[in-house]
């Protein structure tokens, strides 16, 4: 700054951000649903939800990391694969993202969010390949900070933005989705398609994993919802939206969604994470 710059006000760094919030720092409200369903005997899904808040010397007062992984393989392999993938993914993000978030140095060239999330996905893939060959898992992860939502995913676990309407923000890496994309079947036919569970991409299948990365602005007032196909399979989007809109809290929404899936037969494990960011303008 040149000397003739008017002195800045006594505001602390980051105070403009805080001032835009209704009261206090933004707070994550997180709900979780994790249910075996009515048909399976084991729950092969894994969930992780991490949130961080800091009122320190930072313009980034919060972050949230939410992961849903839906394993497959039988004999506990699916369960282990999803757990290992989710944990490895979270560990990688904590190492690279959270260090920077807490003011650490990013080295010569700061990794992009895309590189961090894709790197986490590759790390998860390699550890599953190494430790549980023959198994596999989906993985859908959402990183939130600074009014942005960053998503990385492989497989058919989904992320939705749910407000007055419901928007699916990930696109399944499944045979069904591909057939819809190329116009071979309609979305309506897809709900009755025999090979609905066939994935085109999953963690633990091959070295050449191609994770999908996506960034989009967080919509104030909306809720983020991540779920496995145990929810979105038996329950259609309109019911999900209606149920979430009628739930006061993210936890109530998760409970209601699990009930809905079970009421529809509960054919698979049901995993759901619902996130609300209170206090964001």
């Amino acid at each position: 700054m040149s000397p003739d710059t008017p002195p800045p006000s006594a505001d602390a760094p980051g105070s403009e951000k805080t001032a835009a919030l209704s009261s206090g720092p933004p707070i994550f409200h997180v709900g979780i649903g994790h249910d075996v369903g009515r048909v399976r005997t084991a729950n092969e899904d894994s969930l992780i939800a991490l949130t961080g808040l800091q009122q320190a010397d930072s313009t980034l007062p919060y972050f949230g990391l939410f992961i849903v992984a839906d394993g497959m393989g039988g004999h506990e392999l699916g369960e282990r694969a999803s757990r290992l993938a989710a944990q490895t993914f979270a560990r990688h993000v904590l190492t690279h993202f959270t260090t920077l978030w807490l003011g650490g140095s990013g080295g010569e060239e700061q990794l992009s969010i895309q590189e961090i999330l894709e790197g986490a996905m590759i790390a998860a893939n390699q550890s599953v390949l190494r430790h549980f060959p023959g198994s596999g898992t989906t993985l859908t992860a959402a990183l939130m900070f600074s009014s942005q939502l960053f998503l990385a995913h492989v497989g058919d676990s989904r992320a939705y933005m749910v407000g007055s309407e419901i928007k699916q923000v990930t696109r399944d890496h499944s045979l069904v989705q591909r057939l819809i994309d190329i116009g071979q079947i309609t979305p309506d036919e897809a709900t009755r398609f025999a090979q609905r569970n066939v994935l085109l991409r999953a963690i633990g299948q091959t070295d050449e994993l191609e994770p999908e990365f996506l960034t989009l602005p967080w919509e104030p007032g909306a809720r983020l919802m991540l779920c496995s196909d145990g929810l979105w399979g038996p329950v259609d989007d309109a019911r999900i939206q209606e149920t979430m809109a009628n739930s006061d809290t993210p936890q109530a929404a998760c409970d209601a969604l699990v009930q809905l899936a079970n009421a529809a037969g509960g054919p698979d494990n049901i995993s759901v994470i619902c996130v609300e960011l209170a206090g964001l303008r």
Binding site: M1, S2, D4, T5, P6, P8, S9, E16, K17, T59, L60, L100, E109, Q110, L111, S112, I113, Q114, E115, F145, S146, S147, Q148, F150, E212, F213, L214, T215, L216, P217
Partner: protein
Amino acid sequence: MTAPLGPARTGTATLSQGTVLESRYSVLRKLGRGGMSAVYQARDLRFPNITRLVAVKELLHSSHDAAMLEAVLSSFEREANLLATLTHPAIPRIYDYFTIGERSFLVMEYITGRDLEGILEEAPDGLPVEKVVGWSIELCDVLHYLHNHTPPIIFRDMKPSNVMIDENGILRLVDFGIAKLFAPDHKGTMIGTEGYSPPEQYRGEAGPLSDVYALGATLHHLLTRRDPRLEPPFTWGDRPIPQLRPEVPPAVVAVVEKALAYDPKARFADAHSMGEALAQSINTTVAVFAAPQPVVEAPGRSSIADQPGAPKVEWVFKCEDEVRGTPLLARDLLLVGAYDNNLYALNAERGEFQWKYPTEGGIPGRPEVGDDTVFVGSEDQRLHAVSLQTGRMMWTYYTERPIRASPRVAVEHVFIGSDDGALHAVQALTGRRVWKCDTGAPVRSTALVVGDRIYFGSDSGDVYALSLRGEIKWQFHAKRAVLSSPAEADGMVLFGSVDWVLYAVDSTSGWVIWRFRTGHSIVSSPAIAEGVVVFGSADGRIYAADLRTSRERWRFETEDQVTGTPLIHKGLVYCGSVDGYLYCLELASGRLRWKFKSGGPITGAPAANETSVFFGSSDHTIYALSANV
């Protein structure tokens, strides 16, 4: 190296060369001395790398009475503040004022040029009537501005030697306000210059109509070459204009005579009416200010006609040097800067010349318009503010090095980078600096303002996010220079770097969200529409990438570097290349619709409206093509 100022006793002593006032203004020479002031040329030491000249005017007061002195000094301060609020292109800008001991100084714009007295002396056959009337119309405009100021300001000393034509050909009123500033305020003191002053001013009374009279006298002098100071007062009737200068139209003579009426009530009601009468008297105000007529050429046939599918050329306009910048559409005008130093205003529909504004350096960037004012940076180191209507200068703002960035207008300020290493924030209305942010390397990237944030890049490789007060909110470092101008979408700021990468960073925190690597430097700025970012690279390609996933949608190969910025308009991408072509591609697919060959590299961005696409080329030409192919 500060030479001591003399004590109060020598309060009227001349400042010697090398005297440094306020540790900032180094006196170079004395320019002149009048009854109540002395004027010096000085160098502003705040700008060590360039010679910025200022005029320092010293108030000379002879009174040693303490109470009187105090009154004079407080009056000086009040008046200096008043002067500083004046904004008119003909009125020199006040930079500073201060008092050292009993000596008061006013620092103002140093104007290089000639005064009308000197110009008249060098025209033994007299000055062209149209020219004199043109100047007088402009003087009426300044007087009208002053008289309608709150409180009204009476100039009191209108005469040829107080009017300068500066190096840009712009008329400037100098020695402004000094007569009023320091005059003891009682009746009976004659202020002004004998010969030009009206009868009432000899009685110590001066009002707006006194300035009208003095302007009439000035006009008489300029037309007849008869110096009123050498004649008895109020003897105009002895020197009738038709006798001395038969070619002066009777209508002009009538205006001069009316202005010189002995009784103020018989003069024009105000300066504005006089200006109107003058304009009517020669019946063509425009001609007075008009620049040379345009060279609108018929569309060339050889190079264009043999391109199948090429768009129709609506018009072309030839400049005298390369057009490297980007045109701007404002109302029905197309504004373009050229390396012939001019900012051109053309009728967008027909390419007809409307006006041009000369700077003293090449214009590499794009003009910007706000509130009927055009802002443009020039390699003459200045940011120029020009009236959109007339092309006349409103103000200029100096930086310390050439300006190669384009201005950005937002929240009543102009933000512009300079090769002096800073982003400057300047009041749009007055041209006064509010702050600057130094980056240590030339700033050629055009600032982006979104909400309460300003984003821009520097040749240092840094990209800054500033608050509107100029505080740094975050700083992102690319490996090489960032000449590209940032664009914003969905909370992301995107820009290219000479390190070959297009970056998408979080607008709140500066975190890099994704990178897109190309095969060479990116100087081109990104254009964003429909979730896609389009940009050029020196690897010769135009790229389109998905904003959300960073995946490449398509790429298009040109035959040379793509340094220009694409324009996305109605689902089409228009982008120039150093290969001389303007390409029109489909946004969705990157498929070529048509290409148009100009005679030289295209380095700026195009502009478009409903019917046409406009762009400049290094072949000195501005092209308008039909957009509906």
